[in-house]
Symmetry: C2
Subunit: 380 residues, 2 copies
């Protein structure tokens, strides 16, 4: 039991700004965009909560009702009980714009201001692929979700999904069985794992990755929250791969959101006789990239905006690098983003010249380096 | 038995030029391109055969050996026995550039100068789709080949294939069971049906379509003749649909040839676990259009260079017209290629104005007509 003079926030080492963000984000009737406008205007969540009504009214989209809600925030949100839950359940709060918040979510025009997280998210998780699909998966679909998630995780890619039955669960399990990282994004609060039989799976995911949600811990998942949740799945990953989806499946919404965010949309083909493959086949017909193998997926992902460090200490700029063998990787790491003399590559790599020359050709074919003249190469 | 004074050619009502073309085309060491050059130079096949050696030598690609062959043509080719075979077996000879020769083959740079044909080819056969695939088809593949061929034939599209085991046979059978037209292009002579168990199928095809070959009747099919034959399949059809093909399947060659001829390349997706779908899935990954239904196929085919008359007397410019119901067709046929006043469409069609207006919207969405202003429409 907490004494009267200590709050849960202090126990978790949470600062005032995080608590203020939490209070604002949980207020009824305030969306991510209005929240961002308010914080931009006043400089910090704490100042928003302390602001006078007249000044709040100057912010676009803020009306008398919302002003009243903000001014009486503590009546609406019991931050203390949320913080107590987070403390008891080892749950972190990640605030937009601050350390620990996943950078790819900043691409969303309605990024969640706060995320509840079990487990940890790392910089390496920026090298992620979302694997989604129908809850009513066939044996073909679950087998493929498991196989591809396993292969991606083995290659060092984080697998993002939604903890649902069917494809989602198979994808998380595939990544876990490879000893890799996986992230589950929930459509309800962390205290309301849905479906209930996935409580154990969620714990396993949190141990080697993260289970995250933008909803307060006790929020029950409702239908409307899933499309909303899907935007986070799409944004966290470089590409969204749909494994099986009948017509009008929610995973087709995730795919559309991924496309709108400029992320790659990938789909696994299936027999035209399978209802569960009708949406994926149509997605391919509409322009999604057909993938059959892990290599297909890695090839589809172009160079990343920011390089990331994998768990084994390599700096990855292009996911296609994950397919390289030791020699290829050594040669690649001996080449700079600026012009590098081939003689210098030979010297740095410590490999025989003929092997370096042959490997340079391989790396060129894989679009990882560019030959600039007879004597110079550079990384792409 | 023929009497000594009549030739088989006379019996079949064949003219001298056809016989001369046959003689030239069957000569060893003379390809379609050289043959075309010779005929272009001398004006007719008969004049080529009568030409002097010095004048033959002036044609590019014609050397001393070929000149000798041409000058002694009757020693090399027993046209009379070929013609006798054609007479006995009700086989027509179709010469390039003359009536009855399939016009789409003129798009080939090496169009066969002569074709042997059982059955008949009609102008409506220009509205054709090739359905090809592996001989080692799965139940999924043969079922789909049959289903799509049935649907296309029912819609009035001629189905072209190669009479092989597996996908080819299923495609021909599907078209026949719809009471539609189908054409088989052989990789050997018409007297050497391969595989032998398809003799009955070939007869059924000839009764409602055609079995054709560029090889003399007794030519045994050899490996090298099939890729050669595939170019004819690709050229005859507006699009080539590959149903199932493992890596390095011959049907992928047909698909490539179709693409090179500017024809559409379509492929049916399949499970990534099926070896027989690996080539088709890869084809889609490389840019072929994924199709699941007959409508998908008809939509893929753009407007045709020349309109054709279907067996039921409609003039078709765009294969998508085959999907129309009676009302839609009536409205479409009331619209000209030039601007047509909507009031005139209503008058011509004899339908209520509101129905015509609604139908015009449908036709617009299907890219069959264009609205030019509030009052005018035109066919595309």
């Amino acid at each position: 039991m907490d004494g009267p003079d200590t709050t849960s926030a202090e126990h978790r080492g949470l600062d005032d700004e995080t608590v203020s963000t939490l209070r604002l984000a949980m207020l009824p009737g305030i969306g991510p965009r209005t929240l961002t406008a308010l914080i931009d205007c006043f400089g910090s969540p704490g100042r928003v909560l302390a602001a006078e009504a007249s000044r709040l009214a100057a912010v676009p989209g803020v009306g008398p009702k919302l002003i009243h809600t903000i001014r009486t925030a503590s009546d609406h949100v019991d931050t203390d009980s949320i913080l107590r839950w987070c403390q008891t359940h080892d749950c972190d709060l990640l605030c937009q714009g601050r350390d620990g918040y996943p950078r790819p979510l900043e691409d969303l025009h309605d990024a969640p201001p706060i995320l509840f997280a079990h487990g940890t998210m790392t910089r390496a998780d920026e090298l992620a692929v979302a694997i989604v699909g129908t809850r009513h998966a066939t044996a073909y679909g679950t087998r493929q979700a498991d196989r591809l998630a396993y292969g991606l995780a083995k290659a060092g890619v984080t697998v993002v999904s939604g903890l649902a039955r069917g494809i989602d669960a198979a994808a998380h399990e595939g990544a876990l069985s490879a000893g890799g990282r996986t992230i589950a994004v929930l459509g309800g609060g962390l205290g309301q794992i849905y479906p209930p039989e996935h409580v154990g799976l969620a714990d396993a995911i949190a141990a080697d990755g993260a289970v995250i949600s933008e909803y307060p811990p006790y929020a029950k998942p409702r239908g409307g929250m899933f499309p909303q949740r899907n935007r986070i799945i799409a944004a966290l990953a470089l590409a969204t791969l749909v494994i099986e989806a009948p017509d009008r499946s929610g995973s087709l919404i995730t795919a559309r959101q991924a496309g709108e965010l400029g992320r790659d949309v990938l789909a696994l083909p299936g027999p035209v006789t399978s209802r569960a493959s009708r949406g994926t086949n149509q997605l391919i017909r509409d322009g999604a990239t057909l993938v059959q193998t892990v290599d297909d997926i890695l090839e589809s992902l172009g160079p990343m905006a920011r390089s990331v460090s994998t768990e084994d200490g390599h700096e990855v700029r292009n996911p296609a690098e994950l397919k390289l063998n030791e020699v290829e990787r050594t040669v690649l790491e001996s080449i700079d983003a600026s012009s590098t003399l081939i003689d210098q590559v030979i010297a740095r790599s410590g490999l025989p010249a003929h092997q370096v020359m042959a490997t340079i050709s391989v790396l060129e074919i894989r679009h990882l380096i560019r030959r600039q003249s007879g004597h110079y190469v550079c990384r792409i």
